[in-house]
């Protein structure tokens, strides 16, 4: 079964990711209650008024999930875009230019990567004011080291191909070589990595919030909601499992889409698939 030529697994991923994005974009319109208003008793069970029940302070869990999607997805997306722009631009430049610029950038990236990301982020965030731009910046820069490594490796590979040499012999500038000769051939790898890194960003943000250094209450985000409701588990109340499940579901859906895109682009006409 491949409706419209798209495999079922990709459909599942697309629809489910689409729902998350829809919820994030239109949060104020579709959430039944405001994000921070206390509307009931603590940890009310599921009911007609509160579809997912209420949280540890008596706020509507569904509304907080929807607003949480907005924060979590938005910050993760911004951080991923930052890390990709930064990482791939620097990585490909390093591969094409080579020499001491490559050495300098690569060793600096090694330095950053040698420190465990979470510890590094905790140190930075504990001395800087925790605000959304700072969070995005810290996550984006830390993640860009991985993107740098990947895009440099792919670009080094493509850079030795005869068609790049042909472009150099023609007298083309570096910008043409990076954007027109190398980037199109690195794109499929980068797109697949994009999905993966986005999910890492979601998990990273959730970890930070869980540890209290991410999104600050009363604003809702999934990691923070797991933290707020975790004590309920002792009493058999599963409110914490809902944001946790949402994180897992999002991770799977995005990866289903990324897998499909990777398959499609590597086999595209003229793709380097199968090599």
């Amino acid at each position: 079964m491949r409706p419209l030529g798209i495999p079922i697994s990709a459909w599942i991923g697309l629809i489910s990711t689409g729902l998350f994005v829809f919820a994030a974009v239109f949060a104020p319109l579709i959430a039944p209650y405001p994000m921070t208003e206390i509307v009931g008793a603590v940890w009310e069970p599921r009911s007609a008024e509160h579809w997912l029940g209420t949280d540890n302070l008596g706020r509507d869990l569904l509304s907080r999930m929807i607003y949480g999607a907005r924060t979590t997805l938005g910050i993760a997306a911004a951080a991923t875009i930052l890390s990709f722009t930064l990482g791939s631009a620097l990585g490909m430049t390093a591969a094409v230019v080579g020499g001491w610029i490559d050495q300098l950038l690569s060793r600096f990236v090694d330095l950053l990567m040698s420190i465990p990301t979470l510890i590094f982020a905790l140190v930075v965030l504990s001395v800087m004011p925790v605000s959304i731009p700072v969070l995005i910046l810290v996550m984006g820069i830390l993640d860009s080291t991985r993107v740098y490594r990947l895009s440099r490796a792919v670009a080094v590979d493509v850079n030795v191909m005869d068609f790049v040499e042909a472009a150099k012999l023609r007298g083309e500038g570096r910008i043409w070589i990076v954007t027109r000769e190398i980037l199109p051939n690195a794109l499929s790898t980068l797109v697949a990595e994009l999905g993966l890194r986005f999910i890492f960003a979601v998990l990273f943000l959730s970890s930070l919030s869980f540890l209290g250094l991410g999104i600050q209450p009363p604003a809702a985000d999934w990691g923070g909601m797991v933290k707020e409701n975790k004590d309920g588990i002792v009493f058999g109340i599963g409110a914490a499992l809902i944001p946790a499940g949402a994180i897992a579901l999002l991770a799977i859906s995005v990866n289903l889409v990324a897998d499909w895109i990777l398959n499609r682009t590597t086999d595209l006409k003229g793709g380097r698939g199968g090599q």
């Binding site: 005869d162 068609f163 150099k168 023609r170 007298g171 000769e181 199109p184 051939n185 003229g270």
Partner: protein, 549 residues
């Protein structure tokens, strides 16, 4: 069933059909027949040559006689009888006793076939010991005998070396010894000499032929080179697109081919090109070039050649002779240590990045592998059009018109402009690369082994096109190749390179007429000729010369 085999027919392939399932994204999987109803019988001690272009199914048939289908390939019909049983019916265990015991395989790339971490001797006798055919001492003694039969140097000790310590030609012979060690009944040789230099190929070929004669093993010899197979095979089967075209004795195929396709294969490389006399002023003058990578040894040592306008200078040599490095020096990719290059009477800047765009335009390059020479993400139109935009500033209608003209020139349909390189065949891709070079309207095109990756008939087409374009556009070629047949077909003057030095240089007539220096003689006499008994003649000639010294 076994009793309807002849006593001496040992391999019997009946109506073999092999298919592969292609899974393209967005399309339902479909089955393609890659071998259609091929039958043959091979007697004990006979050699059958399988010949054809890439995609003819020759390797697939070779592997099928081991009961093996490579990467998703499935044997869908027919029978393969070895020693009186249909091996396609065998269980996995049954196949294991067949392979490496009754049927052995010699692949094209010996370097990839050996484990670099083990000594040669251990790998040569491994299958023999695995099957419990001999004791370790017996197997080692047999391996040494085989090394001697294959004329390997120091047959008693060469087995103690590791794969990287012997040359490519020696490794190929060691691999043949590995296949012969368990005393198999059949060996499948899959292009065993294709990756070797021409002077090495002849030694390996003679060694293989000698070993086959001594051991009395039957062999399937797979190659794309009819002249090579004519030296070793008793019978030849010509394949095309998975179907048998013609099957006969070697003599009949070479001397009296019946089918049109076989005739074309036999008469390949019959382009006749009269060498032109050089004019007074060369368009490119290379003087006393010395070049090396980093602080390494000299790759080019005092090389001086001239290229005249509208003519072809062939640079011939084996791998490692420095011929591709010469191209890198001329294009500016590798500035020389000393010496200079003059274009049209004025010196060229040594380094690429300091050269003005117009100098870059005048010297274009065509590569060996058309696959990697074109960006797979650009259309043919973009690939050919870019030099037009970049050097000549064409755009819009003028650009499209010129792309169409160029496509006409290389004899490809105009709608190719919208296709991607992956949709083209090998020969078409190389034509596009020629068009890209021509688009810049250069005075010189450097052709680096442009026909070596192509099938003989396709290569012939490319050579004819190049000659045609030279006559029409007056462009000069610096033609780098290891293939002397190609040189004879298109060169006006020839430079023979050996270990970074010029061994011989002059007009075609001068270089190709005696007296020869030793190296040129070796090189010229090593090119396989399409006639029976050529190998014996050359080897006998060499022995006599050796004895004379």
């Amino acid at each position: 069933m076994a009793n309807d085999l002849n006593d001496d027919s040992f391999l019997d392939i009946r109506n073999l059909q092999i298919g592969v399932t292609v899974r393209e994204p967005g399309e339902p999987p479909r089955d393609i027949e890659i071998v259609q109803g091929v039958s043959t019988v091979l007697g004990k001690g006979k050699v059958l040559g399988l010949i054809g272009e890439s995609g003819a199914g020759k390797s697939t048939i070779g592997l099928a006689s081991l009961g093996y289908g490579r990467g998703g390939v499935e044997i869908t019909g027919g029978e393969v009888w070895v020693n009186g049983r249909d091996i396609l019916e065998l269980s996995r265990g049954g196949l294991n006793t067949l392979r490496g015991r009754e049927v052995c395989y010699v692949s094209q790339s010996a370097a990839a076939g050996f484990n670099p971490a083990h000594r040669l001797i251990d790998q040569v006798i491994e299958a023999t010991l695995e099957h419990g055919l001999m004791t370790r001492a017996e197997a080692k003694a047999r391996a040494r005998e085989l090394f001697a039969a294959l004329s390997l140097p120091n047959p008693d000790t060469i087995g103690d070396r590791y794969p990287h310590q012997v040359s490519g030609g020696q490794l190929q012979r060691v691999m043949t010894a590995m296949a012969l060690c368990p005393k198999p009944d059949l060996i499948v040789f899959d292009e065993p000499t294709t990756a070797l230099d021409v002077t090495t190929q002849i030694d390996v070929l003679a060694a293989i032929k000698n070993a086959i004669r001594l051991t009395g093993v039957a062999a399937l010899y797979i190659t794309h080179d009819l002249a090579v197979v004519a030296q070793v095979a008793d019978e030849i089967m010509v394949l095309r697109g998975g179907e048998m075209v013609e099957h006969g004795t070697t003599q009949q195929i070479i001397e009296a081919p019946q089918e049109e396709y076989t005739k074309a294969l036999v008469s390949v490389r019959s382009i006749v090109h009269e060498g032109k006399q050089p004019g007074p002023d060369p368009i490119l003058r290379v003087e006393n070039i010395v070049a090396a990578y980093g602080n390494g040894p000299r790759i080019l040592d005092d090389v001086s050649v001239d290229l005249h306008a509208g003519q072809t200078l062939a640079v011939v040599g084996e791998s490692g002779s420095g011929k591709s490095t010469l191209a890198r020096v001329i294009t500016g990719l590798l500035p020389p240590r000393s010496g200079q290059i003059a274009f049209d009477g004025r010196p060229l800047t040594p380094a690429l990045r300091d050269r003005p765009a117009d100098d870059l335009r005048q010297i274009q390059m065509i590569y060996q592998m058309a696959d990697t020479a074109m960006n797979p993400r650009q259309t043919i139109g973009t690939i050919i059009g870019r030099p037009l935009q970049f050097y000549l500033g064409l755009s819009g209608k003028a650009l499209r018109a010129r792309i169409d003209e160029l496509l006409d020139l290389i004899e490809l349909p105009r709608d190719m402009a919208r296709r991607y390189p992956a949709e083209l065949s090998g020969g078409q891709k190389q034509r596009v690369c020629i068009a890209r070079a021509l688009a810049a309207e250069p005075k010189i095109i450097i052709c680096d082994e442009v026909t070596s990756a192509l099938d003989p008939l396709v290569a012939d087409g490319i050579l004819k096109l190049l000659l045609d374009l030279q006559a029409r556009e007056g462009v000069a070629y610096l033609f780098i190749t290891h293939d002397l047949a190609t040189v004879k077909a298109i060169a006006d003057s020839i430079a023979v390179m050996h270990l970074g030095k010029l061994a011989r240089y002059g007009t075609k007539a001068e270089v190709l007429s005696p007296p020869f220096d030793d190296y040129t003689d070796l090189l010229l006499s090593s090119v396989p000729e399409m006639k029976l008994g050529w190998l014996e003649e050359v080897m006998a000639h060499r022995k006599m010369e050796g004895a004379g010294n």
